[in-house]
C-alpha cells in the first residue's frame, strides 16, 4: 500500500465519558441466567461511533512502506494488461534454474523436515522445521520431544519469519565501518594477547540464561585460560525467583518438573502454567488430557487460579480469583495454614476464608494427586510455600518431581548488578555480550547504558543491530537458530542438537563461533565445536550413528536432568506473620508480553498483529486495570495515563480488563523498541523504564495520573454483548453427567430437511472439523500457525483498527458472570465450510463454490472482489485484500512463503481452506499407493499446532474417524446451525468446567 498521504490517526477522540461501571454492574446484576458479554465498551455502550465520525479522513498505515509511484505504475500495467479479454494477457518468460549437482535428499517440490530445537528464554523446544528446497518455511512441533509432543506456540511458529526478517543485522560492524569477520578475529586475538597476562581480570562476558552444554563448556574452558575474567548472565525474563525459592525451601537450587497428567486438583498461585514458560506446551497437553469429557461418565481435573491479570491459564480455570500479585504470598500462607502447615497468617488475608477452606479440602481429598504451582514471577517465599505444601500433601514424586537445575544456575540480578558495579568502577576493559539486549531491558535502577560507556571495548553478538549494539564498538550479526549448529536443553533437561536448515542468510555467527574467536582455534565452526563436545560425552561406540540418530530424532536419549531427592529444610522464614502489604495502594505488575515476549520478537509482524490472549489487542502494550480501579481513577479505555513507580514514569494507554485484580496495574514488557526494525520501532511504550532490581515483577506504590490525552488502540474484538445468543455453549461436569444433551438445547443439528431443495450427497470423503471448547485454552497458536501455513499477509495497526485483519482462524472471547471475577470463554473460529453456504449463492462469478468433498472452495484467481460473500457470511470469517497486502517487494520475505499456497493479490477475497494443500498432498500420496486416505493423514495447520488437541480434522463420512466420533458426541453443536441451516462442517463441542460444588453455588453459577 502506498501510505505517504496517510493522515495520522486522529487521537483527538471526543472524550467519551468514563465508562459507567455502576450502571454496568446494575445491568449484570439484573441479568438473568447465563450472561455473556465481551468488553466494557460493549457493556457501557460508549460508542466508537463518535470516534469513527471524528476520523473523517482515511488513515493508512502499512507494514513495509512501498514505493508509491512504482506500485502505481505496476498496478497500472496490471490493470491495462488485464483490461483486455481473458487470455489476452501474455505470461512473461520465466527461467528454470536446476542444480548443478543435485543434493541426494532434495527432490524439488518435495518438502523435507529436520528435527531441531527452538530457544526461548534459554530453554529449547523440540521442533520439526519444514524445508522447501533449502528454505525453512514452517515450524512444527516434534512429537517425540517431551517439551513439545508435536505442539508449538505462537512464538515458535513466528520464529521462521524472524529468520528472514530483512531488518536483521547483516554485517559485521566496527563503530560505523563494515568489516570482514577476520578483522574481528584479529581484534579478538589482540584482546586475548593483551589480557592473558592479567588473566583477563578486566574482561567480562555477558550472556542470557544458558542451557547449552556446549556453550557452557566453551565459556568455562575459556575462563580457565583467563581465570580472572568473569561470566555474567542476565535475561529480562529470568527464573531468579524460582531458583531463590528452591534455595529457600531446600537449601539448594533445583528445578521442579510438573506432571499435570497425574494431577486431579491444581492450584496455581499466579502461575501461567499453560500459557507461558519452557514446559507450558507439555503442561497444556497433559492438563487438557485430563479434561476431555466425552461421555457422562467422564472424570476431569479441577483448576484453581489466583492471579493478578487474566492469563491463558486463568481463563481455563474452574475457579479463578483475581488478587494483587503482591498478595499471593498472603494467599499461599493462608492455604498452607489451612493445610496445617506451621506458618504465620497475614494480619489481613487476601483470599476469602471459605475459598481457602474449599481448596484446602479439595487438596486434602486428593493427596498425592494434587498440585500447587507458584508463578515464575512470584517471590521466593511463595515458591517455598508451594514446595512445602506439595511435600506435605505427598505430591512430590507424583505430580511434581525435582531435578538438577537445567540452566547454569546463578542469581542473574545479582550477577548483572556486579557487572554494572565493575563497569562503573572502570574495572572493565572488554565486555563481550552474547545475545541479550541489556541497554534496552536491564533494570532501570542499574543505569546499564551509562555504565557501559566506561568500558573500553564493547563487543556484541545480536540478531539485530539494536539499542545495545548501537553503543558497542563491534556488532556481530547473530545466526538465527535455523541457521545454527548448537544444542539446547528443554524444561526437563532433555538435550536437542540444534541443526541449521539454511546457511546464514545475513552472514550470522553463533555464540560458539564468537567464543571460539577468543581461543587459539578461532576458525572453528559451530558444527565442529558442538560435534566435538558431544564426541567426548556421547559415550557411544559408534559416535556417527549416535550423532545421526540424535539429529534425526531431535533429542539425545535419556539426557533429561537427573532427579534430585530434596526435602524442605524449614519454614522458619514463614513463621512470623509478614508485614501486611499496604492494601489500597496500587501495585504495578510486569509481565513478558504474550506475543513479543521480552521484546526480542518486536520486529516480527506476525506476532505484532497476533491478537493478545484476553485483550485481543494488536501492535501495542497497555496499562491493564480492573474495572473497579478504573472506576475509582475515572479512567476509560485509550486514556493515556502517566504511570509513576519508584520515581520513574512512563506514559501508557489504559485498557480495562474484566477479571483483573483491583488496585493493580499490569504492563507488558517488550514494547517501546527504538532500534529493532521497521515493524517494531515505536510500537507501544517501554515498560522496562519502570522496572528495577528491587521490583522485577511487581511492586507496590505505583501511581496513575490521567493526562487527558487519548491513544487509539487496535483490538480485533471489542464489541457489545452476546445479547443472550447461544453461540458459545458451555456446561459443567455436573450438568453433563445429569443431562448430557444440555449443549443441544436451543437447537444444534436438524434443519437440513427444512431445505427448499434436495440436499447434495457427499459420497467420497467429506471433510469436517470438530473444535472442543472444553479443551481450548485460547493460546492463539492456531491463528499464527494458519498464518504461517497459508501465506497470510500482515496488514499493520491501522488496517487492523479498520477491521481489515487477515487471520483465517480467529479466537473469539466472551466473558460470563460479573465484572470482577468473570469466567472467560475462548472460541476458535475458522471457516465453517457450510454445506449450504450463504457466501456461495451470492458470488456472481463462481469464485466460491462447493467441492465434491464438501469444501467451500475460494478461488482467488477467479474472484473479482464484490465482497458480497463476506457480507453474507454469518460468521464473518472471510478476509479481503483491500490493498495489496502481500509483500512482493522485499525479496527475503518471498522465501518464507509456502510454495503450495497461492500468494493472494489485491482485490480478492480469501478464507480458511481447511489447508486444502495438505488434503491434496495426502490424496495424491494415497492415490499413488492406491489406497484410501487414512484418518490422520490430513492434519490442518491449526490442528497440528494445538497444544491441547482441541481441534480434530478428518473425514466425517468415515464413522471410525476421530472427527466423526466427536460429531456424534452429545456435546457437539453447530454454530447458528439451527437458525440458518447452513449445515457447517466445522462443529463445536460445548465447553465443560468442573467447579467445586462447595464454591459453585456461592458464586451462583453453573
Amino acid at each position: 500500500m502506498d501510505t505517504r498521504d496517510a493522515t495520522p490517526p486522529s487521537r483527538g477522540v471526543p472524550d467519551a465519558a468514563t465508562i459507567d461501571l455502576t450502571a454496568i454492574r446494575a445491568r449484570l446484576a439484573n441479568g438473568t441466567g447465563r450472561q455473556y458479554w465481551r468488553s466494557l465498551d460493549e457493556l457501557a455502550e460508549t460508542d466508537d461511533f463518535k470516534r469513527f465520525l471524528e476520523a473523517e479522513f482515511p488513515r493508512e498505515a502499512s507494514v513495509f512502506d512501498t514505493v508509491g509511484r512504482r506500485q502505481f505504475l505496476k498496478l497500472m500495467g496490471a490493470s491495462l494488461a488485464l483490461a483486455g479479454l481473458n487470455g489476452c494477457t501474455k505470461q512473461p518468460t520465466e527461467k528454470v534454474v536446476p542444480y548443478v549437482k543435485q543434493p541426494e535428499l532434495v527432490v524439488p517440490g518435495q518438502p523435507l523436515f529436520f528435527a531441531t530445537a527452538a530457544p526461548l528464554g534459554g530453554f529449547g523446544t523440540g521442533v520439526l522445521a519444514e524445508s522447501h528446497m533449502g528454505r525453512p518455511t514452517k515450524i512444527e512441533g516434534n512429537p517425540d520431544h517431551p517439551a513439545s509432543l508435536g505442539a508449538t506456540d505462537a512464538l515458535l511458529q513466528a520464529s521462521v519469519l524472524q529468520l528472514y526478517d530483512p531488518d536483521r543485522a547483516q554485517v559485521v560492524r566496527n563503530i560505523r565501518e563494515i568489516r570482514p569477520w577476520n578483522a574481528f578475529l584479529d581484534t579478538a586475538a589482540a584482546v586475548m594477547e593483551k589480557h592473558r597476562p592479567t588473566q583477563g581480570a578486566r574482561v567480562r562476558f555477558l550472556t542470557e540464561t544458558v542451557t547449552s552444554p556446549t556453550l557452557r563448556n566453551q565459556i568455562e574452558s575459556l575462563l580457565k585460560q583467563i581465570p580472572k575474567a568473569r561470566w555474567h548472565q542476565y535475561s529480562p525474563v529470568g527464573r531468579d525467583q524460582v531458583r531463590a525459592g528452591a534455595i529457600l525451601a531446600f537449601g539448594e537450587p533445583v528445578d521442579a518438573v510438573y506432571h499435570l497428567d497425574k494431577a486431579d486438583v491444581i492450584v496455581s498461585l499466579d502461575a501461567d502454567v499453560l500459557g507461558a514458560g519452557a514446559g507450558s506446551l507439555r503442561y497444556a497437553r497433559d492438563f487438557a488430557g485430563r479434561r476431555r469429557v466425552l461421555d457422562e461418565h467422564g472424570a476431569m481435573n479441577r483448576l484453581y487460579v489466583v492471579e493478578s491479570s487474566p492469563s491463558v491459564t486463568g481463563s481455563a480455570a474452574d475457579h479463578r480469583l483475581p488478587i494483587r500479585a503482591v498478595d499471593a504470598e498472603a494467599g499461599a500462607r493462608q492455604l498452607a495454614a489451612a493445610l496445617g502447615l506451621d506458618v504465620g497468617i497475614p494480619s489481613e488475608p487476601s483470599l476469602p476464608a471459605e475459598w481457602v477452606k474449599a481448596v484446602a479440602e479439595d487438596l486434602q481429598q486428593h493427596r498425592g494427586a494434587g498440585l500447587v504451582v507458584a508463578g515464575d514471577f512470584q517471590p521466593p517465599e511463595v515458591h517455598a510455600l508451594a514446595h512445602a505444601i506439595n511435600e506435605a500433601l505427598g505430591n512430590v514424586g507424583q505430580t511434581v518431581a525435582y531435578v538438577e537445575p537445567v540452566a547454569a544456575s546463578v542469581d542473574q540480578a545479582q550477577s548483572l548488578r556486579e557487572l554494572v558495579a565493575d563497569m562503573e568502577a572502570g574495572q572493565v576493559d572488554v565486555l563481550v555480550m552474547l545475545g541479550g539486549n541489556p541497554v534496552y531491558d536491564a533494570p532501570a535502577d542499574l543505569r546499564f547504558a551509562a555504565a557501559l560507556q566506561k568500558v573500553g571495548l564493547r563487543i556484541r553478538l545480536g540478531l539485530y543491530d539494536d539499542e545495545t549494539s548501537e553503543v558497542c564498538h563491534w556488532h556481530i550479526p547473530e545466526a538465527h537458530y535455523l541457521e545454527s549448529w548448537g544444542d539446547l536443553r528443554a524444561y526437563d533437561g532433555t538435550v536437542t542438537i540444534v541443526q541449521p536448515l539454511i546457511a546464514p542468510l545475513y552472514g550470522g555467527k553463533t555464540a560458539h563461533e564468537l567464543l571460539a574467536a577468543f581461543t587459539d582455534k578461532p576458525e572453528r565452526t559451530a558444527y565442529e565445536i558442538v560435534r566435538e563436545y558431544w564426541k567426548g560425552r556421547a559415550g557411544a561406540v559408534d559416535f556417527d550413528l549416535w550423532w545421526r540418530k540424535a539429529l534425526h530424532d531431535g533429542f539425545v536419549p535419556d539426557s533429561a536432568a537427573p532427579g534430585k531427592a530434596v526435602s524442605v529444610q524449614s519454614l522458619a522464614f514463614a513463621k512470623k506473620a509478614p508485614a501486611a502489604p499496604k492494601a489500597g495502594t496500587l501495585e504495578v505488575v510486569f509481565r513478558p508480553d504474550p506475543t513479543v515476549y521480552d521484546g526480542r520478537f518486536a520486529n516480527v509482524g506476525w506476532l505484532q498483529e497476533l491478537p493478545k490472549p484476553i485483550t485481543t489487542l494488536t501492535w501495542d502494550n497497555v496499562a491493564m486495570l480492573s474495572p473497579a480501579t478504573a472506576e475509582r481513577l475515572e479512567l476509560s479505555n485509550e486514556d493515556v495515563v502517566e504511570v509513576r513507580f519508584d520515581g520513574r514514569t512512563v506514559r501508557a494507554p489504559v485498557w480495562i480488563v474484566p477479571g483483573h485484580a483491583r488496585d493493580s496495574v499490569t504492563v507488558h514488557l517488550g514494547y517501546g523498541r527504538t532500534r529493532v526494525g521497521r515493524i517494531g520501532n515505536g510500537a507501544g511504550f517501554n515498560a522496562y523504564a519502570l522496572r528495577t532490581t528491587g521490583a522485577p515483577w511487581a511492586g507496590l506504590g505505583a501511581q496513575l495520573r490521567k493526562t487527558g490525552e487519548r491513544y487509539w488502540l487496535a483490538s480485533t474484538q471489542n464489541h457489545f454483548s452476546l445479547e443472550g445468543r447461544d453461540l458459545v455453549r458451555s456446561t459443567t461436569l455436573d450438568e453433563l453427567t445429569h443431562h448430557p444433551h444440555a449443549a443441544h438445547e436451543g437447537g444444534g443439528h436438524g434443519g437440513q430437511d427444512l431445505s427448499f431443495y434436495p440436499a447434495h450427497e457427499y459420497k467420497g470423503y467429506a471433510w469436517g472439523m470438530a473444535i472442543d471448547l472444553g479443551s481450548c485454552i485460547g493460546c492463539n497458536a492456531c491463528t499464527i500457525a494458519c498464518q504461517a501455513e497459508n501465506n497470510i499477509a500482515v496488514v499493520g495497526k491501522d488496517q487492523v483498527w479498520r477491521g481489515r485483519e487477515m487471520h483465517w482462524i480467529r479466537v473469539d472471547r466472551y466473558y460470563e458472570g460479573d465484572l470482577d471475577t468473570p469466567l472467560i470463554h475462548a472460541q476458535p473460529l475458522p471457516c465453517m465450510q457450510c454445506e449450504n453456504a450463504p457466501c456461495e449463492v451470492v458470488c456472481p462469478v463462481n469464485a466460491t463454490n462447493h467441492s465434491t468433498e464438501g469444501l467451500n472452495q475460494m478461488v482467488y484467481n477467479r474472484c473479482v472482489g464484490t465482497k458480497y460473500c463476506s457480507n453474507n457470511c454469518p460468521y464473518k470469517v472471510r478476509r479481503f485484500n483491500f490493498y495489496r497486502y502481500s509483500n512482493w517487494d522485499v525479496e527475503a520475505l518471498k522465501l518464507v512463503a509456502n510454495p503450495d499456497v497461492t500468494v493472494r493479490s489485491r482485490g480478492v477475497m480469501e478464507k480458511c481452506t481447511y489447508c486444502v494443500q495438505r488434503i491434496n498432498a495426502a490424496r495424491i500420496q494415497a492415490e499413488k499407493e492406491d489406497r484410501e486416505i487414512r484418518d490422520g493423514d490430513v492434519v490442518t495447520a491449526c490442528q497440528q499446532v494445538c497444544p491441547t488437541e482441541a481441534i480434530v480434522f478428518g473425514n466425517v463420512n468415515d464413522p471410525e474417524s476421530r472427527v466423526a466420533k466427536l460429531r456424534a458426541n452429545p456435546r457437539t453443536y453447530a454454530l447458528l446451525g439451527a437458525e440458518l441451516n447452513t449445515r457447517p462442517r466445522t462443529t463445536y463441542l460445548a465447553g465443560v468446567r468442573n467447579p467445586n460444588p462447595a464454591l459453585a453455588q456461592k458464586e451462583g453459577k453453573a
Binding site: 487470455g87 494477457t89 518468460t93 520465466e94 536446476p98 548443478v100 527432490v107 524439488p108 472452495q857 492415490e927
Partner: protein, 219 residues
C-alpha cells in the same frame, strides 16, 4: 424547404447500420481467435535455449528414457530439470570439447547453474502435479506432444483452463496403460474409449465432479 440530404444518404444510412453489426461480430470473433492463438498461449513456439539441447536426438534417436533426466516425474509435482551433472555423466566421455556444450562444461566447473528457458509455464495459481498424472496413465506425449521429434522443444498444447478441463472431464478419451506412459510412439487403439473406461475404473481415476473441482488445481 430545400432537401438536406442527397438521395444516396438513404442507402448510406442502411449500409452503415449493417456494417456496424458486421464489424461488431467480426471483432468478437477476432478476440476469441486471438485469445486462443499461439501468440497468447505460446503454444507451438520453439524456445531458444542457452544450450541447443535436442530432445529429438536424445529421446528420439538415442532413445533415452524421459526419466533418465526428468527423475522426479513419478514422485512429485515437478518432473524436474536435470542438474548439469546429468549432462556431464555422458558428456565427460563424448563430445568432450564440442563448443556448443561449453555452457554445460563451464556450469559444471564454475558450479553455476545453466538458466534454461521455461517452456511449459503455468500461472502461479495453478498447481499441476506430474506424479499423479503419470501414475494414472496420462502419457507424456498426451500433453507434451512428440517431444522425441522436437529439436528445440515447444509447448504443444494451449495449457489453457478449457484444455485442462477437456481431459479432466473425459479422462477415458486420453488415458493409456501405465506401461505405455513413457512410450513416445504409443498410438491410442481404435477402441480408445472402451479401453479408457476400463483403465479409468482400474486406476480408480476420480469421477468428473472431483476432477473438475476448483481445488483440484487451484489453492
Amino acid at each position: 424547404m430545400p432537401q438536406i440530404f442527397h438521395p444516396s444518404t438513404n442507402t448510406v444510412a442502411r449500409v452503415t447500420i449493417l456494417g456496424a453489426l458486421v464489424l461488431l461480430a467480426g471483432a468478437g470473433w477476432a478476440i476469441t481467435a486471438i485469445s486462443r492463438s499461439g501468440y497468447v498461449t505460446g503454444a507451438k513456439v520453439a524456445r531458444r535455449q542457452p544450450v541447443p539441447f535436442s530432445h529429438k536426438h536424445h529421446a528420439g534417436q538415442l532413445g533415452i528414457d524421459c526419466r533418465y533426466c526428468h527423475t522426479a516425474v513419478e514422485r512429485v509435482a515437478t518432473a524436474g530439470i536435470p542438474p548439469t551433472k546429468t549432462c556431464i555423466n555422458c558428456h565427460s566421455q563424448i563430445w568432450v570439447d564440442s563448443p556448443t556444450l561449453e555452457p554445460v562444461r563451464s556450469s559444471f566447473k564454475t558450479d553455476r547453474s545453466i538458466e534454461w528457458i521455461k517452456v511449459h509455464d503455468l500461472p502461479d495459481f495453478v498447481y499441476f502435479n506430474h506424479s499423479i498424472h503419470v501414475n494414472k496413465g496420462v502419457g507424456c506425449a498426451t500433453c507434451h506432444g512428440r517431444v522425441d521429434q522436437m529439436n528445440l522443444v515447444w509447448q504443444e498444447a494451449s495449457l489453457q483452463m478449457e484444455w485442462c478441463l477437456n481431459c479432466h472431464r473425459n479422462p477415458e478419451q486420453y488415458v493409456r496403460p501405465r506401461d505405455q506412459v513413457f512410450n513416445m510412439e504409443y498410438e491410442p487403439p481404435a477402441d480408445q474409449v472402451a479401453l479408457g473406461q476400463r483403465l479409468v475404473h482400474e486406476y480408480r481415476i476420480a469421477d468428473k465432479g472431483q476432477l473438475s473441482d476448483c481445488y483440484t488445481c487451484h489453492r
